[in-house]
């Protein structure tokens, strides 16, 4: 594999990272809202939230992307393909992150909140000062896992015409006919990116160890 070919793939890989990164972050905040909505006593909020989670976890990402890609223009939103792709990825990861966050918040020991009650913290203060940091720490492994899943899933946006790593390899292949080298190289790049993310996750977990060995 020549240097420039690999360079093109690396560039595309960077684009993959950007797309994935934006989707993960957007998905986190959307997931946070959905997670809160699922716990709401108001059924008009809780039910659609649960349906949202059920839909985006029950339908293959590829189908979600194709649907959103074609639906947006119909709704009057003529956006570039990459935007449709990011919307699709974000909504998909939001559903999974909502579930992870639900687990995280449920994992905060009740006693800690009782102590906060006795100390006089209002529910809002408890949410910000106690529940959020601890829930986040509990969710961290699942968050890292989700980041890796999105990075791999981003390969599907090649189907809606976004030139990220997979699409770049495909395009190069149509003119060069070297599928083994190109796709293997792409695979290696994905693998390395995922490893880096996993390592970053472990690092974050260690930073938030709060004195535990």
């Amino acid at each position: 594999m020549t240097f420039t070919l690999f360079g093109l793939l690396v560039q595309a890989a960077l684009y993959t990272i950007v797309i994935s990164g934006v989707s993960i972050v957007a998905g986190f905040f959307i997931g946070l809202c959905v997670s809160a909505a699922m716990l709401s006593a108001n059924l008009a909020i809780a039910v659609p939230a649960r349906l949202f989670v059920s839909f985006f976890r029950g339908v293959p990402l590829l189908v979600q992307l194709l649907l959103i890609y074609n639906l947006l223009p119909v709704l009057g939103l003529n956006v570039p393909s990459v935007v449709a792709a990011v919307v699709g990825l974000s909504l998909c990861t939001a559903a999974y992150q909502a579930e992870n966050l639900r687990g995280g918040f449920a994992g905060v020991p009740r006693g800690l909140l009782e102590a906060a009650d006795m100390a006089g913290l209002t529910p809002l203060q408890q949410l910000i000062r106690i529940r959020a940091p601890i829930a986040f720490r509990l969710t961290l492994p699942a968050l890292t896992n989700e980041a890796i899943l999105i990075l791999k899933a981003s390969s599907l946006v090649s189907v809606v015409g976004v030139v990220e790593l997979t699409r770049m390899a495909q395009d190069l292949n149509t003119s060069l006919y070297k599928p083994l080298q190109l796709y293997a190289a792409a695979g290696v790049l994905y693998f390395l990116i995922n490893r880096a993310v996993a390592a970053a996750g472990k690092c974050a977990e260690r930073r938030m160890a709060w004195g535990r060995a």
């Binding site: 979600q64 194709l66 223009p73 390969s155 599907l156 090649s158 695979g187």
Partner: protein, 233 residues
């Protein structure tokens, strides 16, 4: 993928007559999807089990080798794996048609995940139960068959159902390498009539229904098997 000005075809409302007329085709594609799914699921579970057993009970070198396989196939996108197999395979003397390539690809992908599920399962069975078996004189194989497997089955059931659902959804990816399964068939129908939004909506509903059904069956199985719940604490 062609984008039209307006994704909705000449008929603005979703046309059930249209679906009815193409129903045989759709059902055939659904049948193919289910067949690919079941075969890959079984193969992946079997292969994954063998890998887990090899890693746990085999020599150190095997553990490292299989570990590398698992890391590699869990760390790269399924689509890339399919491309390598389907487009790259012929260059290595392995020429597979689309459907076999899909099945083989999904099996190998799934096996990597199943091996981890089984490995966790092995470790989740309390050491004491295995030691009790050793003390009584059971052989390695007998311990696996009579102690580990039954106890494991209950422990790993949720993860297994989850994985089965994941594999079902991944069958959609095979449409990219021209396997005539559900996604590719309904996409094609949608293109024919310029009814993209309707066709993809239908497609989404189909998968959603299948996944919900699968999840329900899984919960049923869990409830049934929990009658044999072992005290593991």
């Amino acid at each position: 993928m062609r984008r039209t000005q307006n994704g909705l075809g000449p008929r603005m409302r979703f046309d059930f007559a249209l679906v009815a007329s193409r129903l045989p085709e759709i059902l055939q594609a659904l049948g193919l999807t289910l067949m690919i799914w079941i075969v890959s699921l079984a193969a992946a579970a079997l292969l994954g089990f063998l890998v887990a057993v090899g890693r746990r009970f085999g020599p150190r070198g095997l553990d490292h080798l299989l570990g590398a396989y698992v890391e590699l196939f869990r760390g790269t996108p399924f689509l890339i794996q399919l491309f390598l197999l389907y487009f790259g395979g012929p260059y290595l003397g392995l020429s597979l048609d689309a459907i076999p390539a899909g099945v083989v690809g999904l099996s190998i992908y799934g096996a990597a995940y199943f091996s981890e599920i089984f490995r966790t399962g092995f470790e989740a069975v309390p050491r004491g139960h295995v030691e009790a078996g050793e003390c009584v004189g059971l052989s390695r194989a007998q311990i696996v068959r009579r102690i580990l497997l039954p106890e494991m089955t209950m422990l790993i059931l949720p993860a297994t159902v989850n994985m089965a659902i994941i594999l079902l959804k991944e069958t959609a990816v095979m449409s990219v390498i021209t396997v005539p399964e559900l996604t590719s068939t309904i996409s094609a129908i949608g293109s024919e009539y310029y009814a993209f939004v309707e066709s993809y909506s239908l497609l989404a509903l189909c998968y959603w229904g299948l996944v919900e059904l699968c999840g329900w069956l899984g919960r049923l199985a869990e409830a049934r098997l929990s009658r044999y719940r072992f005290a593991t604490s």
